[in-house]
């Protein structure tokens, strides 16, 4: 009971600074104590009880983060149903998150509600985020552009940091050592005294990296170190005015001597909460972020600079939000903001800037006791592409005490990114092909023509430079939840229809035999499937959970082509062309049809210890087309067989303040085989077992 009180206190505390109006509402609602702690903000931008939401939301609690002993965001996400961390490209590429089969490019990542920038070819590296000071991670599946705008197609991941709640200085220091000389130290401290609160977090990670291609020179993951610092201030001036400021800085450097590879990510957030009345809440938020990379590829023999790839992206965003509570159970949310974005990149002719303005509104209400409806829309006006209206409606109906139905339809979009608009890049080392962003392609082609580098133009000159549309999707989710006693279960059917996906096209053939590429809105894909979760409390201290996702993800145009008999493959024996059938089409790359997770968490209070076992399985998936027909089919020798990763962790608390933890990730030492490895050489999928030990001192 005292535990719940603490949670209640923490919740209350958090609410007052974060969403004053929502807090009132939540208190008004009679909520069971044991579910009260499970509140999320990402789904509605107001505090909502997880179990009452009409949307598919995954909540990863601090407790789960702590018990599993993981230190980075990507590791914990991979253990959640319907979320897969998968190689972005094939060999040597980064890893990206996939939600409902939707790639990382279309997943928005937030820290305390504000977006993180800095994507490499569309992919955001989630291992950048240390989770030592995180209260919880919220993942809303399906499109949420009605609240968050661009990029929120596949889902939104929101990292919620913790607010200090103790009058005394509290905190922790911990060190974790793991395989590959992975050393992670962090310090987290904070204090909330009277009206003032502060917290500070520092994290250092270094590792020797690892190698998946043992017989090739160089390492897959080079040795690196990184630092994360996060300082936050809270000032609750009065019942009506609260202030919050946060600064975060991340620095990472790879040891690739004599080359250079550095990355920084800085975020500054300032927010004022104003509650003119019990029912009304205003939030004024200013956010600035700056992501940079500094990469120089230097020839190790003659020290010649091969490639310089610098990246400097900035976003400044003021936003105002407003909440108004209608009694008893309705809340109106509205907001407006302005994005100033700029990017300076070596591969661009000059620094480019975007401006966009947006408005959103949402009404969350209960027409009658058992029915909750949330309806909202957002309008984004952008300087570089056509404006977007993103509506969404969701509803939940409580059929009985234990059983509820929920469904939602929403739209998402992703603005063409800087690369797709402004890239001006000729790869001299890679054969001399050229890529132009849409906004610079007309001028670029003209330039090449003047230089006599264009052999034939493949598109109408008048079509060059027509503006790109945003990529967009409509997502449908429909599911049931059932909770009774020791059992909690959920099943969700999803379908996401994407259109206007931006693809590359050939603009012209060059006289050197290479192509000039541009970008075009072309592809339509869909992902659909079922995700289901089952939790069962076997004993007081033993929790079992299992999750499964069934996924189908295809390019619609490709399926039509197959129906028209226009897709061919090659017989592996004769090499002759054969016509492919629908059953030969495997679907989109990097998608597993089946993903399964199974977890056991066991608490032993008399020993102050806990143990857990987590198993994550993904079925066979393909990496790339190899036979030149532009789709992944059964004849492509690029499939990775299904595999399971088994993670194990034990923890025990000593002398009240010390906690020791040890375990293994990938306990079965799975390594796998990358089918794209050169003949007679081996490239692994996974570096194998990773042991770890961690000591934590709490004060």
């Amino acid at each position: 009971m005292s535990l719940n009180k603490n949670y209640l206190a923490a919740f209350f505390f958090l609410s007052t600074y974060f969403f004053g109006a929502a807090q009132e509402r939540s208190v008004q609602r009679p909520v069971k104590m044991d579910t009260l702690k499970e509140v999320v903000v990402t789904a509605t931008r107001t505090l909502r009880q997880l179990s009452s939401l009409p949307l598919p939301v995954t909540l990863i609690s601090k407790q789960q983060l702590r018990r599993t002993g993981v230190t980075r965001l990507d590791q914990i996400l991979n253990e959640q149903t319907g979320i897969v961390i998968t190689p972005d490209v094939t060999i040597g590429g980064g890893e990206g998150v996939q939600i409902q089969g939707i790639a990382s490019d279309y997943v928005l990542v937030l820290i305390d509600g504000v977006p993180v920038v800095g994507r490499s070819s569309g992919n955001l590296d989630l291992s950048r985020f240390a989770i030592g000071n995180i209260k919880q991670v919220e993942v809303v599946k399906g499109p949420s552009s009605s609240l968050f705008g661009s990029e929120a197609l596949g889902g939104v991941i929101n990292i919620i940091t913790e607010k200090p709640s103790s009058e005394k200085i509290t905190g922790q220091v911990s060190h974790r050592s793991a395989s590959f000389n992975n050393q992670n130290t962090n310090l987290n401290l904070g204090q909330g005294k009277g009206k003032l609160g502060y917290s500070f977090f520092a994290d250092r990670l270094s590792t020797d990296g690892y190698d998946l291609a043992l017989d090739q020179t160089g390492q897959t993951i080079n040795p690196f170190f990184n630092y994360t610092f996060n300082g936050r201030l809270f000032f609750d001036a009065s019942d009506k005015w609260n202030f919050f400021a946060s600064g975060r800085y991340f620095f990472q450097e790879f040891d690739v001597t004599p080359s250079t590879s550095e990355e920084t990510d800085a975020n500054l957030q300032f927010r004022i909460d104003h509650n003119p009345s019990k029912k009304t809440n205003f939030q004024y938020e200013f956010y600035y972020t700056n992501y940079t990379t500094n990469e120089q590829s230097v020839d190790p023999i003659d020290n010649e600079l091969l490639i310089e790839n610098d990246f400097d992206q900035q976003l400044f965003r003021p936003e105002i939000r407003f909440n108004y509570s209608f009694l008893p159970n309705s809340i109106l949310t509205a907001g407006s903001g302005y994005n100033f974005e700029s990017l300076d990149r070596s591969l661009f002719a000059e620094r480019v800037t975007f401006e966009s303005q947006y408005l959103f509104a949402q009404y969350d209400f209960k027409p009658f006791e058992k029915l909750n409806i949330i309806a909202g829309a957002r309008f984004d006006n952008h300087s570089e592409y056509s404006s977007q209206l993103s509506p969404k409606i969701s509803a939940r109906y409580q059929l009985s005490t234990n059983f509820a139905i929920k469904g939602s339809v929403g739209s998402g979009f992703k603005a063409p990114d800087f690369r797709q608009l402004y890239l001006d890049f000729t790869n001299a080392a890679g054969g001399g092909y050229t890529v132009f962003g849409r906004e610079v392609e007309a001028a670029g082609i003209q330039r090449l023509q003047n230089n006599g580098e264009i052999a034939t133009l493949q598109v109408e000159p008048s079509a060059l430079g027509e503006s790109l549309d945003a990529e967009s999707s409509v997502g449908y989710n429909f599911g049931f939840t059932y909770k009774r006693g020791k059992i909690a279960s959920e099943i969700n059917f999803f379908r996401n229809d994407f259109k206007n996906l931006i693809d590359t096209r050939i603009l012209a053939a060059k006289t050197n035999g290479q192509n000039v590429f541009g970008y075009i809105n072309r592809e339509s894909v869909f992902t659909q499937g079922i995700e289901t979760d089952l939790q069962y409390r076997l004993f007081e201290n033993l929790n079992l959970s299992a999750g499964y996702q069934l996924l189908y993800a295809y390019d619609k145009r490709r399926r039509d082509d197959i129906d028209n008999g226009e897709v061919f493959g090659r017989d592996p024996e004769t090499l002759e062309t054969i016509r492919l059938e629908q059953s030969d089409y495997f679907g989109l790359e990097n998608r597993s049809r089946h993903t399964i997770n199974f977890k056991i968490f066991y608490e032993i209070p008399e020993w102050a210890a806990n143990a857990n076992l987590r198993i994550v399985y993904r079925s066979r998936f393909g990496l790339t087309d190899r036979n030149g027909n532009g789709l992944l089919d059964e004849l492509d020798d690029s499939f990775v067989n299904g595999y399971a990763l088994v993670n194990l962790s034990f923890g025990k608390t000593f002398y009240k303040h010390y906690r020791f933890q040890m375990g293994a990730n990938n306990l079965l030492d799975f390594k796998g085989n990358n089918p794209l490895a050169a003949r007679d050489s081996e490239v692994l999928i996974n570096p194998g077992i990773q042991l770890f030990a961690r000591l934590n001192f709490q004060f």
Binding site: V89, T90, I91, N427, A428, A429, G430, G431, G432, A455, T456, Q458, I506, A509, K510, T511, N512, G513, Q514, N515, E566, V567, F568, G569, R570, P572, E573, T574, L575, E576, T577, I578, R579, T624, D625, R626, N627, G628, N629, G630, D637, L676, A678, R679, D680
Partner: protein
Amino acid sequence: MKTTFKLFSLLFVLCAFIACSDDDDGDSITEFTVTAVSPESGTIGTEITITGTNFPTDISLINLTIGGTPATISSLSSSQIVTTVPVGASSGDVSISTSDFTQTAPTSFTVLENLELGTIENIFAPQTGGQGQGEIGGEFTKFSFDTGAVTQSDTDWDIAFRGTTIAVNGGSVTGTNDEPERNGNAGAAIVNGIFDEVTTANGLTFSQDANGAFAIPTGSDNGWYNYNFMTNVVSPIPGIVLVFRTRTGKYAKIEVLSYYENAPSNPDGFVDAPRYYTFNYVYNPNEGGTSLSN
């Protein structure tokens, strides 16, 4: 006088009898006609049907030749003879004769040469430069369909290879380094489909090399191949059939099977030697023949 009359009468009757009996055992003697031969051209072994009237129905009495070469009759009726083009036949008249008559079909028959088909392996098509190594250059490797082999001739070639580039002996030079002079009337058409399903060159539009552009467009996904930068592999696009008009106006089709030496089924872009063409081809050596399938 009476006796003379009687003798004459007897002679007449006799003659008439003889004439009649001659008529009677002379089915073969009746004059027959030949009205048509179908088809009017075909390769050796092609079944042809000859129609007419009053054909003798005894195979042994008929002597059938095509261009002077005796042909075997496989079935016979008074209005139709079925035969096949015999080995060794050359174009010419279709002639049917009996001991008494010889008739020639109103149209002559053209014996076509068989389509030539096969697999050409490992045509090496080296190039210098490219892929960041400076300007592309090097001699093209030339190929002639009528010999079915690589040729050094500056004139008797139909298509030529250098790296991923395929030139045709028709049109004009494109402007690239070291390319051969175009002195024929070759052209190329790209057809989507399965090799066997491309049965004719009829109705296709043939492009020729021109200043700045090859008839078969260069570059990944433009012409016959695509390049996967991740695996560093050049793959012939499945379902692409290249149909050529040769320098002399005959037709051929090819399907490139592999760009790597010895045509491995899963080429390794970092191990296998590239620029080795292996392709299936069908060549119609007949003047004006557009058929690309038997």
